[in-house]
């Protein structure tokens, strides 16, 4: 597992209206090769989506950025850990061996609400994930 190593820039001012990080494209997308890509945005003081839904035992690419200040992206009990810097896309490859719920706190000071900035990661069985459908083709667990 490697830290983010490819420098990729993005305009944080148009994040919500055009390109890869528009609201309808956030969440977990299944790729043609069977892997999944999770896209998320951090802002004061939440992540979007607020609950990430991912399959176990599957290669996962996280792509994330910030809409305002510097945030931190960390998933408990894994070594997934990267900074989210506005203007840059952080990419991180990983996978989860077992199903279960994990917490995802922002781990870089981002303002007075920083300590309330938490999200959840729900890892479910690979077959159960494959059976899920979504109109947009993007999955999350914000409504669960």
């Amino acid at each position: 597992m490697m830290p983010p190593s490819r420098v990729e820039t993005i305009d944080p001012r148009t994040l919500h209206i055009a390109g890869e990080f528009i609201e309808s494209n956030l969440g977990t997308a299944t790729e043609a090769d069977g892997s999944v890509t999770v896209r998320l945005v951090a802002q004061q003081y939440s992540f979007t989506p607020q609950c990430l839904l991912v399959p176990a035992d599957t290669p996962i690419t996280f792509r994330a950025t910030s809409a305002d200040v510097v945030h931190g992206f960390l998933i408990d009990h894994t070594n997934i850990n990267t900074m989210l810097v506005p203007g840059y896309v952080s990419t991180f490859k990983s996978s989860f061996e077992t199903a279960g719920e994990r917490v995802m706190p922002c781990h870089e000071f981002c303002g007075t609400g920083h300590q309330g900035m938490w999200a959840k990661v729900k890892v479910i069985d690979k077959a159960a994930f494959a059976a899920l459908k979504s109109d947009s083709g993007r999955l999350s667990c914000v409504d669960q």
């Binding site: 490697m2 830290p3 983010p4 190593s5 490819r6 420098v7 990729e8 305002d68 200040v69 510097v70 850990n81 990267t82 900074m83 989210l84 810097v85 506005p86 203007g87 840059y88 896309v89 952080s90 990419t91 870089e108 000071f109 981002c110 303002g111 007075t112 609400g113 920083h114 300590q115």
Partner: protein
């Protein structure tokens, strides 16, 4: 022989006075983070306190201690009064004014951005101006260390520079250079936005500039400690320095390899590519060389005959070892 006691003590008094205040804040912060409930436990007050604590511990306290230590070393090791006493007082005044200018907006809750600044978060402009003044005050010290060394070398041609002064000047050059990163970030990126002239900041670039200084703040602590290890400790234990050359090589190596390694604080950042991360890993690994040289030299010094006797006396609880420090 110290002829500028008042100058040196003024630095130490301000250093330890601010350190005392930072200790109180730090204790309260620990209490807030503990399961016990602390009074006035709100995030606003907590981050205000963390910013004040970090600013004192990161900039004000180490800067003043290194400056005072440097002025004392100059007089004690070169056996002559400090050249540029007025400039030294001016540097002290800048640090004092800067510390006050920085701490007032923080205390008012107008700059809870932590000592690492974290742009694009923006606080009151006076906070940043204050930190810049502290850095500029310390640069006067860097210049004075260099000038005093040069004058001594001119007056003592062919003589080796006393080790303490050699190390002190190496430490001051290290700080002079590495403080440039935060100064660039503050003056060219943050202050234009804080003062309302601009509305955007490249946060990634700002983090790179800051890392240039961030790493060296650690050295600002380490250098005076190493100088003490190499010059005061062998004498205090009644031994002698095992190798003067080894000491000089260590300080020269610290100066060279510690200058460019701040990026190791950004290994999890997206704005730095893998190439620079590898290069900085290598430089960071090389820091072990002067560190191991120091461990070896200090251990060898304390095992010299005088050192052994003094150490045994200390272990026996005798007051003999205190006598040898005089």
């Amino acid at each position: 022989m110290l002829t500028n006691r008042r100058l040196i003590l003024a630095h130490f008094w301000l250093a330890f006075g601010s350190f005392g205040a930072a200790l109180v804040l730090g204790s309260w912060q620990m209490y807030v983070r503990s399961p016990l409930s602390a009074p006035i436990d709100t995030p606003e007050y907590y981050y205000r306190s963390v910013t004040a604590h970090g600013t004192v511990m990161g900039y004000v306290f180490p800067t003043l201690v290194a400056m005072a230590f440097g002025y004392a070393i100059t007089e004690l090791s070169l056996h002559k009064p400090l050249v540029g006493r007025r400039f030294a007082w001016a540097g002290f005044a800048l640090v004092l004014i800067g510390a006050i200018a920085a701490i007032v907006p923080v205390a008012m809750g107008l700059a809870s951005v932590l000592y690492t600044f974290y742009p694009p978060m923006i606080g009151n402009a006076f906070y940043y101006i204050g930190v810049v003044l502290v850095v500029v005050g310390s640069w006067i010290w860097v210049a004075l260390m260099s000038i005093n060394l040069r004058i001594w070398k001119r007056d003592n041609p062919g003589e080796p520079v006393p080790l303490a002064m050699f190390a002190n000047v190496a430490g001051s050059y290290l700080w002079g250079w590495t403080a440039v990163g935060a100064a660039i970030e503050l003056i060219f990126q943050i202050l234009p936005v804080a003062l309302g002239f601009k509305s955007t900041i490249d946060a990634g670039l700002a983090r790179v500039f800051f890392s240039w200084t961030l790493h060296a703040i650690v050295y600002f602590w380490l250098m005076p400690a190493y100088i003490a290890y190499y010059t005061i400790v062998p004498r205090a234990i009644g031994g002698r320095l095992y190798s003067d050359t080894m000491a000089r090589i260590s300080f020269a190596l610290f100066l060279v390899v510690a200058m460019p390694i701040g990026v190791h604080h950004l290994f999890a950042d997206p704005q730095v590519g893998s190439g620079f991360k590898v290069v900085h890993s290598v430089f960071t690994a090389v820091v072990t060389i002067p560190t191991l040289l120091t461990i070896f030299t200090i251990s060898a010094s304390s095992r010299s005959p005088g050192g052994c006797a003094a150490a045994r006396a200390c272990w026996a609880g005798s007051r003999h070892c205190l006598g040898t420090t005089r």
